[in-house]
Symmetry: C2
C-alpha cells in the first residue's frame, strides 16, 4: 500500500515521521476518516471543511498540501494506485503542526505542517448491522473541546478498550448526567416519538454522518430533537443507535449487559440505516467529482 | 546529538517513528523530563516510578527497554556520548503503545512499546529567576486524568501559546473556581502565613519538583496546606510561584498584567529557590549512581 507523507508517495513501511513531530510528542494535530464507495469520496467536502475549522481553531498554519483540492487529489491518487476504486475503502487524513524542537508553544511560523494520508479497503460489517451490537456506558473523561477532531485520543482509546474488554462494540460516554457521544461515534436514542441526540457543543464532535442522519430522519418524517439523553433516560429508550463514518447506522441492542427496548433493532433505526445506505449508493453512482 | 529509539542509538535526524505509531495517531503514550546536573540524574527514580505508574494506568505493556535500570543506562550513555556530563542537561523519555494498524482499542499484546530518549544541554534561566516572571490565567480545558503525564498535551500547548502571546512565561489553569496548576508547572501561593497548592488528585500532575519543594518548605518551617487557591484568592496572595523540572522555583510577579503582592519575588519564594538549588548541588556532588 502506498501512503502520502509530506509531499511523497511512499510504501507504508517507509513512511516515518521525525521523533520531533508535534503529533508524536504533543498529539498536536487533527485528522479525518473519509469513506470511499466505488472510488467516490462520500461527504469529503464536509470532512475537509471540519478539518480546516480544526486547524483554524488550533492555529495550525495551512500549506499548499493542506488545501482541499490538494488533499482530494492525493486521496484519489492513493485510491487509484492502491486498487481501491471498486468496492469500499477509507481514506485517513492527518495534519500535525510539524516537526520542531520540543517547546509547548507554537513553533516558528515557517514550520511546515506534517501531512499524512493513507487508504485501506473497508468491508462494511453487514451482519452486525442487521442484528445490532452491544455497548457499555462509561464516564466521559475527555477535555472541553470535543468539537475538535484532534489526535489527543487517549480517553477515546481507554473507553473503547473498556468496551472491547466487556465484549461490546462501543463505549457510550456520560458527562454531568447526560449522554454525550460514543468513543468514536455519535449516539441517538428514539423515545416518546422523538429521536434525541446531544446538541452540537464543545462536548461532542459535530459528526458528519450524524448530520446526514439527522437530515434523513427529518426527510422520513421523524422529529429530531437536539437535547441530550439523560443518564437515566438511556435505560428506557425504545431504540438506541450510533453513527459514524465507518459505523454508518448501527443499532445498539444491549447496553451494559441489558437489552435495549425489546433487544432487537427497531424500525426507526433500520429505516435510517437503509436511508443512509441508499444515500451512499446514490452518491457512488453520481458523476465522478 | 545521538538519541535512542527502539533499541538503537541514532543521530537525531535519522530518528523516525512509523506513521502507525500510536503516539502519532492517538497521543497514546507517557513521557518524563529528567534533569541532569554534572552528569547526575536528579530525582530519576521518582520520575521513572511516575512513568511506570502511568504505563500501568494506561495498560501499556512494559518491555525490557522500559525497565528502570535499562532506561537509566540509556540516559547515562546518551549524556556521556553527547558530551553532557558537565553543566546541566535534560533527559526526555517517551514510551508509547507502539505501532499497529489504527484501531482505538489496544493493539495485540505482542506489540512492542516505542521507547524514545533524547538529551539536550540545559541553561537555567538564572536572570528571570531572580526578578520573577509574568503569568496569565486561563480556563483548564484538560481531561479528567491530569495525574497521568501523557503526550495528549494539546490543551497544555494551547494554554502555553496564550501565555507566550501575552508576553508571559506560564499559563495558570483554572477549573471549577480553583487554580489547578500551570500548563507545564505546579503552582503555589503564599498567603495568611501558609503555602497553598492544589492537592494531588486527578486534576493535577503530582509534580516531582512540587514534592521536593513541599518537603523543603516543611524543613524550612513553613506550613504547607494542600488546598487549592480559589480563583479570587490568587489575586491577593502575598507570593506566587511555579515549580517544575526545568522551572525549579520561579517567582510569578505579574498575573494577567497586574503585580502579585508588591510585584517583586518574596522571601518565601526566594528561600525555597535557594533550598532547591542547594539540594540539586548536593545531589550532583554525591557519589555517581
Amino acid at each position: 500500500m502506498l501512503i502520502f507523507l509530506n509531499g511523497e508517495f511512499l510504501p507504508r513501511s517507509e513512511a516515518k515521521v521525525s521523533v520531533d513531530d508535534r503529533g508524536f510528542v504533543f498529539g498536536d494535530g487533527v485528522y479525518e476518516v473519509i469513506r470511499a464507495v466505488g472510488g467516490r469520496l462520500f461527504t469529503a467536502d464536509e470532512h475537509l471543511e471540519r478539518m480546516e475549522g480544526g486547524m483554524r481553531a488550533l492555529g495550525i498554519q495551512p500549506s499548499e498540501e493542506t488545501q482541499r483540492a490538494a488533499l482530494l487529489g492525493i486521496a484519489r491518487r492513493l485510491l487509484r494506485e492502491n486498487g481501491l476504486l471498486d468496492g469500499e475503502a477509507t481514506v485517513y487524513v492527518q495534519v500535525t503542526r510539524g516537526a520542531a524542537p520540543r517547546l509547548h508553544q507554537f513553533p516558528p511560523a515557517a514550520t511546515r505542517p506534517t501531512v499524512y494520508l493513507s487508504t485501506a479497503p473497508f468491508l462494511p460489517p453487514v451482519e452486525i448491522r442487521g442484528v445490532g451490537a452491544a455497548a457499555i456506558t462509561t464516564p466521559d473523561l475527555r477535555w472541553s473541546r470535543c468539537d475538535l477532531k484532534t489526535v489527543n485520543l487517549l480517553p477515546n482509546v481507554l473507553a473503547k478498550q473498556l468496551a472491547v474488554e466487556a465484549g461490546a462494540t462501543e463505549a457510550i460516554l456520560m458527562r454531568d448526567g447526560v449522554v454525550t457521544e460514543g468513543a468514536s461515534t455519535s449516539v441517538f436514542g428514539a423515545m416518546d416519538g422523538r429521536i434525541r441526540t446531544h446538541p452540537a457543543s464543545n462536548y461532542i464532535l459535530p459528526g458528519i454522518t450524524r448530520g446526514v442522519v439527522m437530515e434523513l430522519a427529518a426527510a422520513l418524517g421523524h422529529r429530531v430533537v437536539q437535547r441530550p439523553l439523560l443518564v437515566e433516560e438511556i435505560r428506557r429508550v425504545d431504540e438506541l443507535f450510533i453513527t459514524g463514518t465507518t459505523t454508518d447506522v448501527l443499532p445498539i441492542v444491549r447496553l451494559d449487559g441489558r437489552p435495549v427496548g425489546d433487544g432487537r433493532p427497531g424500525p426507526v433505526t433500520l429505516g435510517l440505516q437503509e436511508a443512509l445506505a441508499e444515500r451512499m449508493r446514490t452518491a457512488a453512482l453520481a458523476k465522478p467529482g
